[in-house]
Each structure stands twice: as structure tokens, then as C-alpha cells.
């Protein structure tokens, strides 16, 4: 069956006022969507520092979904336009780095669009699945996770790979 299909890991950035609430609405309405996306809430898509996206990709995410209010509906007047500009620039930077720009997607979703949030998420997971794993920032041999010294660990984490 689908036993061996690649399951991408995706980080989703959401706006507190629209897309995070769209995700809430999708939940309240029990709409089903792909479980590959893990969300981060910000106050506004304008808060999105492009380095967050790079950080996510270099930390193991295969794709990043940026979501915000529709143009003209920003809770902070116009900051989603800034997110749009950064997104467009970021895609060019990614292309320059040899990363498929399609790994980063921008989706507008209002607080009422739970259904859109769910369908766009599932669609994006399929798109990333087609692109395959990114493997950026992963150690070369893939086994190095076992025995690095704890010296450079930020918070003193454990060394085991999760189950």
C-alpha cells in the first residue's frame, strides 16, 4: 500500500488573526487534512523573517507553508504585502541556492476559510511529496545523529533520535 511512500515534514507559519483561526475552524468542523504540517503561530505574516524559512529547511523540513490574511484584509492594515514581497524574494534566493522554490508556498486564508486551509495543506503535502526529501542540513552518512558530543547543544538536549 502506501507503506513506503515519502512522508514530508512541513513547517507552516500562520497569522494569529486569520490562518491560525482557519486551522482552528478546520479542527472545529472536523475537516481532515494531511498530518505532515506543523504550525507556528505569529501575530502577522509580516513577522515572517525569511531566515525562519531557511532555518526550518536547514533543520529538516522538506517544505514551508506561509499563510496570512488575504490582500487587503490584514489585521495590521498592509503587513501581509510585506510578507508577499519577502516570499517572492525568498523564492529567488532559494533558486540561487539550488533549492526548488516550490518548497515554499504562500497561501492566503481568512479566519472563515477552514476548508481552504485544509485543502491547501493537503495539496501542498502532495506537491512536496512529488519533490522528494530535501535533506538539507542532514549529516552525510545519515547515522551521525548517534554520537556527536554534547558540546554545541543549545539547551542540552538528548542525543537519541525520536521513536
Amino acid at each position: 500500500m502506501t507503506e513506503h511512500q515519502f512522508e514530508p515534514t512541513i513547517i507552516g507559519f500562520t497569522c494569529n488573526w486569520c490562518s491560525y483561526r482557519a486551522a482552528d475552524l478546520a479542527g472545529t468542523a472536523r475537516m481532515k487534512y494531511a498530518p505532515n504540517v506543523r504550525l507556528i503561530r505569529m501575530m502577522c505574516s509580516g513577522r515572517l523573517d525569511p531566515t525562519f524559512v531557511l532555518r526550518a529547511l536547514s533543520s529538516g523540513a522538506d517544505g514551508v507553508m506561509i499563510t496570512g490574511c488575504h490582500p487587503g484584509e490584514c489585521h495590521y492594515m498592509e503587513q501581509n504585502y510585506k510578507a508577499l514581497r519577502r516570499f517572492l524574494l525568498l523564492r529567488r534566493v532559494l533558486a540561487g541556492m539550488g533549492i526548488e522554490p516550490e518548497r515554499v508556498k504562500l497561501v492566503w486564508a481568512s479566519a472563515a476559510e477552514g476548508a481552504k486551509f485544509a485543502s491547501e495543506t493537503t495539496l501542498f503535502v502532495e506537491e512536496i511529496r512529488k519533490l522528494g526529501p530535501l535533506n538539507w542540513g542532514k549529516p552525510d552518512d545519515g547515522s551521525a545523529a548517534i554520537d556527536h558530543g554534547p558540546s554545541s547543544i543549545v539547551h542540552g538536549q538528548e542525543l537519541e533520535v525520536p521513536a
Partner: protein, 669 residues
């Protein structure tokens, strides 16, 4: 090891009955957090049936005190539901409330995924993200801002009037702004109200007068809000008071100007196009205020430069042709939006023939026809103005529950159709047919009214009308309107000839609802109605604190519900006023002057004018009172000199790593 002080984190996984535990293995998540996130600082991880219950909260409070927790993660529902609950619990135990983080494993996991193993793994990742993040949280203090006790109510229909009166009666000042020349709204146009058949004007006009004369209400009619800035407690609002060309302080409302005005104009607004008004007019006899308004587009003086009959005859010299639009600036603490609805344009359903077949009427036209103060003095007659119909067909759900137009039910149309049936029957004795899809007569005394109309002999045909036509096939259909309908109870097609057709049109959001919503910083649903904070538990508040929505602006509803909402919003406003100050989320940006290079990249980004540049020191400063906390400048600063509380770079990066379980692996850089 990190030199940072090791935080002591408690993780609390909620079952939410079976809402979470039915899909997510909550015990596994808690055990995993205790085992794998121990090095991060997790000292205790528990699961409990309902964390939000008082026992669940006590559990957390006890652990904070006894285990010396410095951070708390609650894996439960969306932070929009219970973040406050757990922040208060933390505060009760002496922990800063902003050191609590919610991990949404219900809305984002158990309710949207079906595979238990996958959902459990995702829940672990979400918890891991929250743990990493909460370690970077900083203790914050709420910012208290004073509440301006004045309130703005936008829209003078029954919902807005009720809201304004409640607040004014409690002793606080209200600015009631209405776009039309008079308050009263749609209700002022109606004849009777269902199900009691109270005369609409009789119950409404005393309220209008009360609002118009109340010492605590400043009535601004023929006025529109053009700009809103600020936040809860201190909104700055600009209102455009359109020129009436009548001096309000001199006008006595005697009506001589209207009488003498030679120019007759079809009244498209109040009389729904069925009657006439003058170029200088009050829309109806009981208008509040009763000062007339001059219609510049139709006034002979404005068009041709002569006439001035109104000026000549005005006994107090109140006519002023040079009056200009006036901009009024007010400061208010709270805003109630009662902007109402637009009637669905029945022309769009072309097969029902409205606008093409003269004797097809809209619901609003019928209200004016049956109204004793209307153009026919309450005589229900055909478009020729004299013939009384012998048979009338009332079509329900026009523009509502229809995929071609609006999917939603407009709520009032069934009862409105029944009311029309009763009035036609009572006044003309005509045979009345009601064509309905489903009869929806919920609420008190509504179904009894349906029974009454049934007993009166109105004929009910269940089925969606296909067409209204004047193309007769048989002798008996000649000169009539023929209603073609599938009678779904009798399973047959019917052609019913009638003299008059009334379309029980649905309600629609105001055509400018989107722009109005944007101006006040609130959103619209996909149907276009203003979005409430919570559809069940907070139906009058919005996502923007200090802005409330009442009446049909929030969605289709009848008069009792509109009145109830108007009063409900006022209770919320009064609550705010009486608290005298409101706590704002301390989510603000600030500049580290040591790091600021003075590049000014952030300067143009702030829409709230919170950023100022100090030329002398060559650094930028952010005014915390004006900052709304969006974080755009934080993201833009190339020097990393701007930090944003609540959503700092450290918090977000930690959460990214946590969500990707990077915190369990050695970090490469």
C-alpha cells in the same frame, strides 16, 4: 552544557474527554515528553481528563508550587480558547502568566487526523515545539490602558438604537451615527411585525424618539464614518456629516419647505420605488430627527440656479444652500457596528420576472403597499394603483438556500411570507398561495402563527417555484401571472394563475460590508457577514477588541434577536467602561539602541506611525503605546536590533527546531 539557567518545565497533556484521547495516545505523549525532553528541562509530564477543569488547573498550580516549575506547557485545545484559563492558573501559583504555552493538539491534531499512530507522533512534535519555545519565553506584564467612556454606535436600525439606549441609560455617552436622514432602519419601513402583528411603527417610533432626545446620545444622521484608528479604550474616529442644506439649530421641522418644493422624485429608498418624495424631504412622518434633507442631485436650484422656494417660505430661515460637508473627530473607547443588511435584488432571479412583469413585487415593496402610511395608504393593489388582487402567490427563499445566489437561509423569510399571507387574506379576502421549500418557524410563538395562517385558509404548496410567467396556455390563465411549480408533496407539476406575486426576498450583507469591516479592522465570513469572535459563545464580539457586531450585520436575524444582540453588546461595552482600564497583550516591538545602525529600513514599514527616528542620536525608537505588535519591523531589521516580545526570534527559532525534533539531536552549527 548551556550556560543558561536550566528551566523546570511541566508538560500537561489533556484528554479533552475523548476529543483528544480518542485519536492521540495521550499517555504515550506524556511519557515521551518526560523521557525525551528531560534534558530540555521537562521535570514532570502528566495527562489528565480535562486540564481546563478546576481539578486540572489545581494540578498545575500544585506542581508549580511544589516542584518549582518555571515554565508550563499545556497540550490541549487552541490557545484562542483556553490560553487565558491556564495563564490565570499560573498566575495563581505565582508564575508569570506569559511563561505558559499552549500546544494545540485538538484543533491541529486529533480533530483533523484519523490515523492514531500518525496523530500521536504529530502531537509529540507539537509538544516538543512548545517546550522549546516556552524556555525562550520571557515574563511579561500586561499593559493597562484607560477606557474612554464614550461609545460609537454605527447604524440606527433597531439593533443600533437598542444598543445606544442601553449604554445611554446606564449614564454613558453614545455617538449614534446613521447614514440615512433618519434613524429607524428597515423596521421603520415595515407595516406589521410577526408573529404578534404589532404595528412596526407603533413599537419602533417611541424608541426612536427616546434615542433622538436622550441627553446621553449625540445623534449624527446623514453621516458616515470615514476613518478609524487606535485600539480598544481609545479609538479615534472621523465622521463625515453630509451637508443637509438645512440649519439644524434653526429648523423646527414644520415641513413647509417640503410642502412648497415643486420637485417630485421617486423615493427609491424608503418607499422602495413605489412612492414619491420632494427634493427637500424627511423620509417619513415620524423621522428622527425631523429636520429635512435636501437632495442636491434633484433640487432645481442646484440644477438650474433658480427656484429657492423652500428658502422663501421657511419661517425660520433655516435653509442654507452654502452648507458644506463637515468632518467631525471623536474619541471613543468602544464601537458597536449595527450596519444591517441589504435586501437581495430579486431581479437576479430572472425566471421570477421581477422588474419585467409589473405585478411581481418584492417583500419590501409589499411592506410599503400594506403600510397605512405608505403610497397606497395601506391598500393592497396591483401596480396600476387601483385593482385589488383576487389571488396572490407568495414565493419563499428568493435568493436564499439557492446555489446560484446565497447558500444560507435568510431566517426571516418564512415568517415574513406567512405575515404577508395573513395581511393579504385579512385586507383583500384574496386566495393566497405560499410556495415554500421547508417551513422554518422556529422560536417562540412562530409555529403557532403558522397554524393560524393555515387555519385562515392560506394554501401551501411545497416546492421551489420554477418560473413566473405571463404566457398563458389556457383560457383561465389569460391576463394572469402563472406560477409554474413542482408540488413535491403531491408529486405533480402545477400551473397556478394569480393576479399578484410577492417574492419573499432574502437578506444580504451590505454591499460595502467588506470596506466597512476593513476600516474597523474586522473580517467578513465567506458569505460576507461580519465574523464574530465565537459563533456560539461570543456572538457579538469580534477578533478586534473593543469592536462589537449586532443585528443583521452579523448574519440574518429577526427583530427580537437583533434587539437581544444590541443589548448584549451594550453589556459588554458597559463592562469595559466600568473596569475603567483594559489590559492589552504586552506584545510589542522595541529597539536596542546599541545595535541600531540607523539604517531606517524599518521606518516606512509601520502603518501605525509607532516608529520615529532620532536624527540627533541616529537611532530609531518605537512608541509602545502605538505599537500593535505585528512584528513586521522585527523581521525587517537587518541588524537584529528590534525585538518583539511574545514572538521573539529566539522563541520562533526554538519552536521550529522543537517541531522538527531538532532539539533531540546535536545541533550542527
Amino acid at each position: 552544557m548551556s550556560e543558561k539557567k536550566q528551566e523546570r518545565v511541566g508538560v500537561y497533556v489533556c484528554h479533552c474527554g475523548s476529543n483528544i484521547a480518542g485519536i492521540v495516545d495521550v499517555v504515550d505523549v506524556a511519557n515521551w515528553a518526560a523521557e525525551k525532553l528531560g534534558r530540555q528541562g521537562v521535570v514532570i509530564a502528566r495527562e489528565y481528563k480535562f486540564m481546563c477543569s478546576s481539578l486540572g488547573q489545581e494540578l498545575i498550580e500544585k506542581d508549580i508550587k511544589e516542584l518549582g516549575l518555571t515554565r508550563v506547557v499545556v497540550a490541549a485545545c487552541s490557545p484562542h480558547l483556553h490560553e487565558k484559563t491556564f495563564r490565570i492558573a499560573a498566575q495563581n501559583a505565582g508564575l508569570n502568566p506569559y511563561l505558559v504555552e499552549l500546544a494545540s493538539i485538538r484543533e491541529q491534531v486529533s480533530w483533523v487526523h484519523t490515523d492514531k499512530a500518525v496523530a500521536t507522533e504529530k502531537a509529540k512534535a507539537v509538544v516538543s515545539g512548545a517546550v522549546s519555545r516556552v524556555i525562550e519565553n520571557a515574563p511579561l506584564e500586561e499593559i493597562k490602558v484607560p477606557i474612554n467612556p464614550n461609545t460609537l454606535v454605527v447604524g440606527g436600525g433597531i439593533a443600533g438604537i437598542q444598543s445606544a439606549l442601553e449604554i445611554a441609560n446606564a449614564g454613558f455617552h453614545v455617538y449614534l451615527v446613521e447614514r440615512e436622514p433618519s434613524i429607524g432602519g428597515h423596521m421603520a419601513q415595515f407595516d406589521k411585525t410577526f408573529p404578534t402583528l404589532d404595528c412596526s411603527a407603533c413599537i419602533l417610533t417611541p424608541r426612536m424618539v427616546e434615542a433622538g432626545t436622550h441627553p446621553n446620545i449625540t445623534l449624527l444622521t446623514w453621516s458616515e464614518v470615514v476613518n478609524v484608528s487606535g485600539y480598544v479604550g481609545s479609538f479615534h474616529v472621523t465622521i463625515k456629516k453630509k451637508a443637509r442644506f438645512v440649519k439644524e439649530d434653526l429648523c423646527t421641522g414644520c415641513g413647509i419647505c417640503e410642502e412648497k418644493c415643486p420637485k417630485k422624485v421617486i423615493d427609491e429608498v424608503f418607499e422602495a420605488g413605489l412612492g414619491y418624495r420632494k427634493a427637500v424631504y424627511t423620509p417619513f412622518a415620524q423621522a428622527v430627527p425631523n429636520y429635512p434633507v435636501m437632495d442636491k442631485e434633484n433640487c432645481t436650484y442646484f440644477l438650474k440656479g433658480t427656484c429657492k422656494a423652500c428658502e422663501k417660505f421657511c419661517p425660520t430661515g433655516a435653509i442654507d444652500f452654502n452648507q458644506q460637508d463637515e468632518m467631525i473627530n471623536i474619541d471613543v473607547g468602544n464601537i458597536v457596528l449595527a450596519t444591517g443588511y441589504d435586501l437581495f435584488d430579486a431581479r437576479r432571479v430572472s425566471n421570477y420576472g421581477y422588474g419585467r412583469l409589473p405585478n411581481v413585487f418584492t417583500s419590501l415593496e409589499f411592506e410599503r403597499l400594506s403600510n397605512a402610511a405608505g403610497p397606497t395608504s395601506g391598500n393592497i393593489v396591483l401596480r396600476d394603483g387601483k385593482t385589488t388582487p383576487k389571488s396572490v402567490g407568495i414565493i419563499h427563499c428568493v435568493g436564499s438556500r439557492d446555489k446560484n445566489f446565497n447558500n444560507y437561509c435568510s431566517v426571516i423569510c418564512c415568517m415574513q411570507g406567512l405575515k404577508f399571507a395573513h395581511l393579504v387574506h385579512e385586507r383583500t379576502g384574496a386566495t393566497v398561495y405560499n410556495f415554500y421549500i421547508d417551513m422554518r418557524t422556529a422560536y417562540k410563538a412562530y409555529d403557532e402563527f403558522y397554524q393560524r395562517v393555515l387555519e385562515e385558509g392560506t394554501l401551501f404548496v411545497r416546492g421551489k417555484v420554477a418560473e413566473v410567467t405571463n404566457a398563458a396556455r389556457y383560457e383561465r390563465e389569460k391576463g394572469k401571472l402563472i406560477i409554474q411549480v413542482e408540488d413535491t408533496l403531491a408529486s405533480k407539476q402545477r400551473r397556478i394563475p394569480v393576479d399578484m406575486v410577492i417574492l419573499s426576498s432574502g437578506l444580504q450583507p451590505r454591499r460595502d460590508a467588506k470596506e466597512v469591516g476593513k476600516m474597523f479592522g474586522i473580517s467578513c465570513s465567506t458569505d460576507g457577514w461580519f465574523t464574530e469572535k465565537h459563533p456560539k459563545l461570543d456572538p457579538v464580539a469580534t477578533m478586534t477588541e473593543g469592536i462589537y457586531i449586532v443585528g443583521c450585520a452579523q448574519g440574518p436575524k429577526d427583530i427580537p434577536s437583533s434587539v437581544a444582540q444590541g443589548a448584549a453588546a451594550s453589556a459588554r461595552v458597559l463592562d469595559k467602561i466600568l473596569q475603567k482600564e483594559v489590559a492589552l497583550e504586552p506584545i510589542k516591538a522595541s529597539v536596542n539602541e546599541e545595535l541600531c545602525s540607523g539604517c531606517r529600513i524599518c521606518n516606512g514599514l509601520c502603518p501605525f506611525f509607532a516608529i520615529t527616528f532620532h536624527e540627533d542620536r541616529m537611532v530609531t525608537e518605537i512608541n509602545p503605546a502605538l505599537c500593535q505588535g505585528c512584528g513586521t519591523c522585527v523581521a525587517a531589521c537587518p541588524a537584529g536590533a528590534i525585538s518583539g516580545t511574545g514572538f521573539s526570534n529566539e522563541q520562533i527559532i526554538a519552536q521550529i527546531d522543537g517541531l522538527l525534533l531538532k532539539n533531540l539531536e546535536p545541533v550542527g552549527d
